[in-house]
Each structure stands twice: as C-alpha cells, then as structure tokens.
C-alpha cells in the first residue's frame, strides 16, 4: 500500500486499559486515512490475530496483563516487517522507548496526547517519519559511535560516552553517517525538526526519515548484539562463512 492508494491504513490496537483503548480506537476511527483492523486488551488474542494476518500499523502497550508488549513487537517485526509499530507510552521514558525501538518499534505515542496528534503521528510514521525526544537522542548518542574515518562534524556534539557495561556490545558498532550524527546531536540539544531542517538546508521530512532509519539501525544493532552475546556465551556456533 502506498500514499497514492485510496485504501486507509489498517491499524491494530493492543491496550489493556479500556478507557485508553477506547480513546485510541476513536483516534483511528475518526481519521478517514486510518481503519481499525483489530483491538485487543491482552497479548495472546493479538498474537493469534497476527499469526493469521498482518496490518499496516500496530499500537501496543508494553505492560499487558498476560505478558510484555515487547514480545508482540518482536514477533510482528519478524513475521510482518512492513508493519510499522508504535508503543503507547505514559511517559515516553528512555528505558521503555529504547527497549521498544530495539524490539523493532519505530516510534511511540503518549497516552495523554491529543487525539489528532496521535492520528497525525500514525500517518507521519507511514510517511517515513519517527518521533524522537531529546532524551532518547542523548541516549542514542551515548550508545552509538560514528563510523571510523568520519571526521568530527563542524557543529559541536555532546561527547559520545559509552554506557557502562556496554564494552562487549561495542564490538558491534552502529554505523552512523555524519549527517545522521549531526541531526541526532541537534535533537539532543533541544532543536525542533524545523529548526534543524533550516540549519542543515534540508526538508523537515528528510530530518524525520533520518530518525526512522536510525531506529531501524538500532533494532538491527540490538539483534547483532544479541547474536554477538549469544555466540560469546556459546549459545550459537561461531560466526563464519555459511554454505
């Protein structure tokens, strides 16, 4: 499906709080570009649903009564890679958001956001954008390192300090392009997408796509880390050429 098609995006909602679920459903229903394909209060019916069919968008709460939304994120990411997944977060806090992104999410919405904002976020994601907060950007800068041989950017960026306990995982570095690095640094300093676009001489849309790409890289990075850690712990055969 694409923007040119008239068909609305199919949205699946998984949220245990009935009020919030209803609110989210209304957000979707009220927007003609979106269609509510499914709505669940617990994890397992949602898993069953995705076992049979896919969707264009998934809105999932992390704290579900019968398990973690992260499980669903990983399953859907594997089974339906075209499905863009967002997390319903109360606070958009670093810990939950980063865990979600690593599980394959491309963004998050706040429970207290306006209905139109939520719908807009969903559509923006389908257009290739991803929301990000300065706190998440700072986390990513600490976590990721620029590719080797890339000169420091003209603009000052926060010193990327490796997080404690990450030394083993650093063996698999996320390759950030200089432009991605710059954009991330601006976000970390509190600049809006519009201000960044103006300063960099690019469109807001381009800035947004950088973020979505970054999220993708982080998810891949986290999978690489998992493989690396697993092989290090002897859970997997050593990496090598396969036939």
């Amino acid at each position: 499906m694409s923007l040119t098609t008239a068909d609305p995006w199919r949205v699946v909602i998984v949220e245990d709080n009935a009020h919030t679920r209803h609110f989210l459903e209304q957000c979707v229903v009220q927007n003609p570009q979106l269609r509510l394909a499914g709505s669940f209060g617990t994890l397992s019916p949602a898993q069953n649903w995705f076992a049979r069919q896919g969707a264009d968008l998934l809105l999932v709460d992390l704290g579900l009564p019968d398990g973690s939304g992260l499980t669903l994120l990983r399953q859907v990411q594997q089974r339906w890679p075209a499905c863009d997944m967002l997390v319903v977060s109360m606070f958009g806090d670093e810990e939950n958001v980063v865990a979600s992104i690593e599980a394959g999410a491309v963004g998050y919405v706040h429970k207290d956001d306006e209905a139109t904002d939520i719908a807009e976020t969903l559509l923006a994601v389908k257009r290739g954008a991803s929301p990000i907060s300065p706190m998440i950007a700072r986390h990513l800068l600490r976590r990721m390192r620029p590719r080797e041989g890339i000169e420091a950017t003209a603009h000052p960026v926060p010193e990327p300090t490796p997080a404690v306990g990450r030394s083993a995982a650093d063996a698999v570095l996320v390759a950030l392009s200089p432009r991605e690095q710059e954009v991330l640094a601006y976000i970390a300093r509190g600049f809006s997408y519009a201000e960044i676009a103006r300063q960099q001489g690019i469109t807001v849309h381009t800035v947004q796509t950088y973020i979505k790409k970054l999220y993708g890289k982080l998810a891949v990075h986290s999978r690489s880390e998992a493989v690396y850690e697993a092989s290090r712990l002897g859970l997997l055969a050593p990496l090598g050429p396969t036939n």
Binding site: E94, S133, M135, R138, A188, R189, G190
Partner: protein, 671 residues
Amino acid sequence: MGDAATIRAMNRWWHHVQHERGRGQGASGLLRMVWRWWCWCLCALGLSGALTVHAAHHAHHAEGPHAQAASSPPVPLNLSGVTVLDEACVIVGAGIRPPDDEAAWLHTTLPHLWSSTHPGYQGTMWYRFRVRLAAVPADTWAVYLPRAVMNAQVWVNGSAVAYTGSMSDPVTRHWYTPLLVNVPSSAWTVGENIIYVRVVSGQLRRHGLAPIQAGPAEQLVARQQQRSWMQADGVLVANIALLALGVLMAIIWLRDRDQVAVGYISAAALMWSVGTSVMVAPNPISPVLLWENLAFFITAWGLLMICLYYYRHGGGRVIWPERLAQLMIVVVPAAALISPTTRTQVLVYCAIYALAMGGFLRAAMTIARQRHPEGLWLLLGIALMTLAASHDLLIELGWSQFDAVYLLPFVAPLNVCLIFISLAGEFSRSRRALRDLNRTLSARVAQREHELRDSFARLAAMERAQAVSAERSRILKDMHDGVGAHPSSALRQLQAPAGQAVDLPMVTQTLRDSLDQLKLSIDAMQLQPGDVVGLLASLRFRMTPRLKAAGIDLVWDVPEMPSWPMGTPPALRQLQYILFEALSNALQHAGATRLVLMARQTEGRLTLSLIDNGVGMPPGSEQGQGLQGMVGRAAVIGGQLEFVRPTQGGLEVRLTLPWQASDWSGLSSAA
C-alpha cells in the same frame, strides 16, 4: 679442663634462660644483668689466665746469661731416656764454626730470649752444651730443638750433624718448626761430649732458643711429631678446611649481599687461612721482609674481619667500632711497612684484641636477647676465641712460655665452623618457617579473600541500600512537592461547593501540569549529572504541545555547554522546577506570542533567561507565593532569580547560578 667447665657453665646458663623465657618482662631485666655479668667474667677469665702465665714467665726468666758458668760440670745424659738441657753457654756472633773453649762463653739458662739480653740484635749466637755419656749409645740418637728462632744448626763434638735449611740470608723460616737432628752413634764418645747449637736470626721474630732435648731418636721423633702437628701439619689442615668454609660462605654472601656479617666472616676465613699459611711457611717465595709483612697484615685483616663480623652479627650497625676497624684495615699495612718491628705488631694485635672483645660482648648480648638455639654455638665460639686470643696475645707480648703453641690457628677455624653451624641452623629454621608459612599461606589467602568478598558484598549492599534510600527520598519529595500536589488540587477543584460550576478547563490544566511534572521527573532521573542542555532540551520537548496549543513561538538560544560541575541530580531537579514554573507562568499569565530561552556560560556563571513579549509582571506580584517559591529554590542551589522588565516590554526571568563551587562566594557577594 677450664674450657670444659666453661662450656658446662654456659649450658647451665642456657637451660636457665630457656626455663625463664615466658616468665614475663620482669625477669628479662635481671637476665640481661646476669648476662652482662657473665660476659665480663669471660673477659676477666681470659685476662686473669694471661696474668697467671705472665707471672710464671717472670719467675722463669729471672736469670740472664752470666760469666760464671763456663766451668760448670757436664750434664750426664740418661742412656735410656730423653734429657732436657736448659743450661748452656752462649757466645754472641762468632763464625760459621763453633768457637773454641777459650772463647768468652757466658752461662745462660734456656729459654734464652735475645730481646731480653741483646735487644735488637741480628746475627748468629752459638750455644754450647757439655754432656757426659756413660757409654756410646747403641741405636741412633737425636737432638731435638722444640723452638729455635729463626733457624738452628746442631754440631756434636766439632762436626755439623745435619742440614736444617739455609743459615744465611734468606734464612729458612723455621721459627715455628720443631727441629729434630739425628746423631749417628759414631759421633758420640764415652765421657764428655759437646753439643753446639748455632742459632741465626731472621726478620721480625722474637729470637731465642728454648731448652733442647737429647736422647734416643725413637723417643724424640714422637715428641717432634706431636709438636710438628700442633705447629705445622695441623695448622695446614685447619687452614685448608677454613679456606673451604671461607669459599662456601663467600658464595652464600655473593648470592645474598644483604648478609653483610656472612661476607665479613667469609673474608675473615679466607684471609686468616692465607695469612697463617704464609706465616708458618718455611721457604718464602718473595723477599723476606715483604713476606713477613704480608703474613702479618693479611692475618691482621682476617682478625679485623672477625671483629666486624661480631659487630654486624645482630644486624644494624655500630658506627664507631666499625669505622675503627675499617681505618685499621688501611693503617695496619702502612704501620707494618713504616715501622717493621715486633713492637708495631704487638701494638696492632693489642688494638685488635680490644676491638674484638667489644664485638664479642655486643654479639653475646644480641644472642642473649634473641635467644635462638643457634646462639649457643656462637657463644661457645666467643668463649673459645676469648681464651685463645688472650693466650696468643700473651705469647706475642712475650709474657708466656717462649716455646708456647699458638691456639688461634686451631680455635679460629673451629670458631668459623661454629659460626657456620649456627648459620646452617638459622637457614634450616628459616626454611622450616617458610615451609610452614607456605602451608598456611594459601589457606589464609583464601580466608582473607573470602572475608574481603564478604566485606565488599556488605559494602556494596550498603551502598545500594543508601542509593535506593536517597533515590526514594528524592522521589517522595518530588511526589510531595510537584506531582502529588496537582491531583489533590484537581480533586478540590472538582468538589466545588454546591451551586458553583466546576471550572473544567482549570481542572484539565491542573491534571496536565501533573502529567508534565511526572514526565519531567522521569526525565530528571535519566539525566547525566551536570547535563544542563539535556535538561533544557527535555523541558522544551515536554512543553512543546502546550506551547503549540497556546500558539506561542519559542526561540531556542541554547549553545552546547560542558557539564555543569554543580549539577547534582537534586540541583538539576530544582532547576527544572524553576524553569517549568517560569514557562507555566508565561503560558498562563503573560499573554505572550513569543518566548526566548537563552542559556549562557560566562565568567564562572551559568545564566538562564526566559524572555517573553507579554504584558509584563504587575507591580507587587513578586511577593506572590509561586514566585517566592522559585526564588527560594534558586537560593537552595546557590543561584539568584531576577525579574527584569525590558524597555520594549514583556518580562525576563533571569536565573544566575555559580558555575562551580569556587564561584559561589563571588555570586553571593555580587548579590
């Protein structure tokens, strides 16, 4: 006998010490006193022995040569045994043949010391012994000279009997060699016979002749062999053994240079063995004067090394005696060369004796203090050395028998042997201790590791508990001051008195504030210490929906800044409160369309300004509770909050903070 009694006494004392050990400190003072008494007794014993011998010597040497005896009757010789001949006539000088009977013979009693009758005389002296034989002996007879310094030749009835080495320069050095000359039966006649002994001098020796003996060769050989063993062969054997020990201990010292005492004793052993060997060697391989001096100062060095050993034995240094010994190492050869006389040598020996007594005393005291079983061997060595040194010094002083045998050539090697035994004992004790230590070490290390791990675990747990407790207090304070206040306000707003409409927009705003505070509180928890830019960025992000809803344009003037040294988590949270409050006020009351957030770090200050283009602050509103709260919070983190009214209108809320602790006072005084 005396030595055996001494050793017995020492053993008794030792057992007494062992028995008394453990009786506490009170007994140790007494022990020390007893010990000192014992040391002094030892020295006194040595000296008193020496004085006794001295007295005997004086009694013995009461007589000098005189003219009366030329006509004394011949001494009858015992045909079946040995006859000691101590009455003689002497002629000073004369040629290489016996002088005639008419010559000026003087009577003397042996031993005859040249120094007492002819001091400083160098040359030849002839001694004549008139003896009577009842019959010509059937077997071979001999004349035995226990001590004739430097060399002697025997004539019987006008014929030289045998060759005993060179009688002219360089004279064979037989000063310490017992000479035995066989006389064939044919040389004797029935009746009167005359035995001549020609004695020649050498360098630096106490010249003279001890009583001679005549009799059957078989009997005299036994006596000569016995003395020869004591004075030559035995000394050689002892010196070879000493040399070997010296080399062994030198190796020990070379492997561990810290054992200075061992180095000294090895040097002592090597020098003493070489020195005394040179001293008793009959045929010098260099000019005699050099040879004599060499023997003297190598031996003296050896003795000085023994002194140094005893001073160093207990560890530590005794500065003056050591310096004195070191000085003497240089002075002794110089003195021997400048003034090559027996007097110089005797003086040197006396000085070394005094030095050695000090060393013995110090070492003995150390041994008594340390009370190691090996110390007993050292004490035995010290006792033997004291006696032997006293004895030999008396010989050197000429206060002892002229033909006395030196004891140090045997006692010194024996003493080194005892030192070596003690060293071996210490070594095996150390090895045992090391083995025991090794055996228990791993267990102790494991135990210590275990204790350390436990201790670390406890500390870590305490730290965690403290951190959790601090974080809990902070969150509670947060909930109390910010987040918690809003729902209760909302509740009161909803519970409006009957008949009064509920102000729904106000309730909504209160709840929004509550949520925003909650989100900011969470952001604050995740901020790195000192991250002011991160704090401002997250504040902007959280406030964006409200700014957007209010249609306010925010100008973001925040440069990249280094970490704020004063930015502890509580300080950052206070900063967040102040800015949130200022932004909320601007949104709710200012009626502004444009906001500028400016951050600057200059001259030890961190300045944050929020400037709006609104209606400004009504006069007197600084006293309002909200603004007073902001001012109070700023003061808590050492800052100053000002409300500036720009000329073009609006309001600037300016927060000035010290950049680091040292800037705080400056800011206060400026304020």
